[in-house]
Symmetry: C3
């Protein structure tokens, strides 16, 4: 089952990468046979795309209760539910759904939507359209660029996918320059947006899985390489947001995505760890099943967070227990509060000898408010 | 004709790249047979180098009139002129002129001259010679570094060209440390400088053509890859100016080359699009002819702009018509004024819903003046 | 002798790199036969590691006198001493000492110690453990990342060394989170720290040598490539300190390691030049001997500088003579004072024509004090 996995989105089959230098014309996207197997891309994939979202809505009440009570996750209940739906079969057919035209479109729409939410992005698009277009491309393809950088491949490798780049450019144009802002108003309508957000998460999870498969092909025992590749593939532009901001003439050095991780970045990291465990046979579950379960989890969380305009994270409770144990009990409650957007921080961080921590306490308040402001603007990237 | 094109400056013939991993001793620069064909490098190339410049001066009056009337470009008149000179033959012999010692020297001289124009560059060279030398190398070889980064090749690949690096280092030393500033004063003498500026444009256009040929070899249908590679090959250090400034301890995040494109950067972008169209057979013209025509255009514009200390751009008129249509009529005149170094901007940029553009209008004035100041310092990079 | 050199730490033997695409399971670290040859890694290497340090202490009085008199270096005396110890034999057996568990451990300890000295690093580790861990990894493996970037290899290539990464992570955890700060207090105890510092220099010198060997394999005549690779391999995180600071939310653009080189960065540059001369047969000495001599030099200097909390550099005297001759006599004493942490600078830097140096003199004082403060915090990186 795992062997035919990453055909949908991978850059040519990795085993074929070995023989030749680099596949110049990889069968990216969908070959004809792929299309005939996936069938009815337009409508079919939409329905298939709506499937997981509907599946996430199905246990909606229970999930909302669970998430309400500290955003936890009950694997036992989910497994029960999924086995009732005959998980294996469902996951397998889910893994066959092609991503290219519809799911990728949703990914582009949501990504560029969050670019438009950034302060000053609209003015930028009017006065410097090229810079705005470049930012949009980073929002759409940042994960590929970062993964290529880590794995030593050409940074613009993915831009040889003309159809993807043209699709993303069309979305950028419609979102920023559509007359009367019609397109923007349509995709911002909450029910529509929630569907797009759900579909974006489907793409994100598959990118993590494919990224780890790709890294595993290069480094069979490179655990850290696999996790890093999966992480950057899942996080996308968030990890290169400093560079993206610089392109727009914005510079806020006192914070970054590593210091104040948003939910998708954190979930991508945990997902990358899970997929790496699966890839190295430590997690006794098929890749299709793990992808399906993790997709359901991500879609539910993200749709819930977007619908409720919440900035929390389901991991806060877990981290509130683990971090104090691992990284110092004295700072535990500080860390806990910080994760909940706390307002006091670092005031009692008496460091070890030799650490003249002069600068930090003075600006930590500003830094925190900066971080929380950032969380608000990109609440559901 | 196209097949023997990029011998002059390419990194070994691309077709030879395929067989081996990487050519360790590519016949860079000029082999003996190449020299005998090109003949009389020192004097001959000088005369050949002066050729296009003289050719640009030949229709000087007409061109100056044209440029004076909105910096336009009349292709019909140019074609007529060139056909009278039997374009094909001229272009072909022009494409055979080797670049290495003389044209490259001009490129280095003009590039390092503009480094010396930067505020603080002279103090830097006295107090931190190594940093100054590194900046000079970025100014001379930035385009190769960026293109290598994009195409996944070693960043310091070009630095294995010992002769080029030594030549650039000698130019750096003479410009910054020559007794009585003799060398600097000589190359700054306007007629001399105009010749060097003209020869730099010859190198720039050929770098764009070779870059696109190189990218095309890797990605046969990668339109965006070709355009990007050609662009960075033509723009050079401008696109990495943030990094170069950081090396000198200067940091101005509120502006960058993408936001305020100088004429060479913009011309490189348009040139890269033209050469990509030629490479993919959409533009029915030979590469030698296109190179020749575009070189004449660049040389004329750049010499005119340098001679008149103008900061305008021949593209302003065209963009003033196209941008309002494509990117919103309401902001059209704003954009138009901005391109002419306007002082008001973004004051009426009422963005779409969800874009709290608080920071930008406050600093846009400063940003614009920053941008125009920058334009002044690097008026003819 | 040179042929079996870089087995200890190189990424697979370079000659084996040629045949395959990339060695997925290179015999990194120590194979069993290597262990049996090196023998008794734990204790043996410790004793071997203490060897050069003891050797540096042996001529301690003479050296201290020499260093006291302007931090000079008397090669004649050293050669005499070394020939008495039968240099060739000693160097050869020294080159056979494996680095992996013990010397690398010292490298990690000292590197992460200097991370902990940075202002705010302790708070960072409490509130953002992942960012702190990433910084620690950059401190330990920054040289590999930079060299991979320059040579076009995957940036995270070295992170496939699971054992090294786990060892560095353990050191990071112990230094930052050990109960009662016991581990930190132990390794900060001056005699213990001096041993670790000495062993770190052993690793540094070997990394320079291996880096140049590696670059020479790719570019046989690439002098600049070899020097650059050796330099970044020796300097490590220092050359990417801007990026590392940004990760911690710190941004000081007005200074950088190139502008204010610390002793290890400078010594790595000079060492890289020496090793490049050796590699290209211009320096008639075996690689093992050069490594041994340079290691003794680095260990002595670094141990002396650390023990005396000095921020000077043995190169200051030499540079005070050479720089005024090469880079302008008028600024010679300025440069000399600057190297000694002088307080006045750039006040009489009347640049050439066309350089409106407005910004620099105003902030040069701040810049200098910034630089000297930085020197203090990372006095013995």
């Amino acid at each position: 089952m795992g062997s035919r996995w990453p055909e949908g989105r991978s850059r040519g089959h990795p085993t074929r990468l070995q023989g030749t230098e680099r596949p110049h014309h990889p069968p990216r996207g969908l070959g004809p046979s792929r299309l005939s197997r996936g069938g009815r891309v337009g409508g079919g994939a939409w329905r298939a795309g709506a499937g997981p979202a509907a599946g996430a809505q199905l246990p909606g009440r229970g999930l909302r209760d669970l998430l309400g009570r500290g955003l936890g996750w009950d694997p036992a209940g989910a497994m029960e539910l999924l086995s009732a739906l005959s998980l294996g079969e469902l996951a397998l057919s889910f893994s066959r759904v092609p991503l290219f035209p519809v799911f990728d479109l949703s990914y582009f729409i949501v990504s560029i939507l969050y670019l438009k939410y950034e302060p000053g992005a609209v003015e930028l698009s009017r006065r410097h359209p090229l810079a705005s277009w470049l930012c949009a491309m980073l929002h759409c393809f940042g994960s590929y660029i970062l993964a290529d950088l880590l794995l030593g491949e050409p940074l613009i490798d993915y831009f040889s996918n003309n159809s993807s780049v043209l699709l993303a450019s069309a979305v950028w144009y419609l979102i920023f320059f559509c007359p009367l802002d019609l397109f923007y108003k349509c995709v911002c309508f909450l029910p529509v947006k929630l569907i797009f957000v759900a579909m974006k998460e489907v793409v994100r999870v598959r990118k993590i899985a494919v990224g780890i498969h790709h890294a595993h092909h290069h480094y069979h025992h490179g655990w850290f390489v696999m996790i890093a590749t999966g992480w950057v593939k899942g996080s996308g532009v968030a990890l290169m947001s400093k560079f993206e901001q610089l392109l727009r003439g914005v510079w806020k050095p006192e914070t970054n995505e590593i210091l104040h991780m948003s939910f998708p970045t954190k979930a991508s990291l945990y997902g990358a760890i899970l997929f790496t465990l699966q890839q190295t046979r430590w997690l006794p579950v098929s890749k299709a099943s793990l992808t399906f379960i993790f997709t359901v989890f991500m879609v539910s969380c993200k749709v819930f967070l977007t619908a409720t305009h919440s900035h929390g994270s389901p991991f806060d409770v877990l981290e509130g227990y683990i971090c104090p144990v691992l990284f110092g009990a004295a700072w535990g409650d500080d860390h806990y509060h910080d994760n909940h957007g706390g307002s006091h921080g670092g005031s009692h961080g008496g460091g070890g000898p030799g650490s003249p921590h002069s600068a930090l306490p003075a600006k930590s308040k500003e830094e925190l408010s900066e971080g929380s402001r950032k969380k608000k603007t990109k609440k559901a990237d």
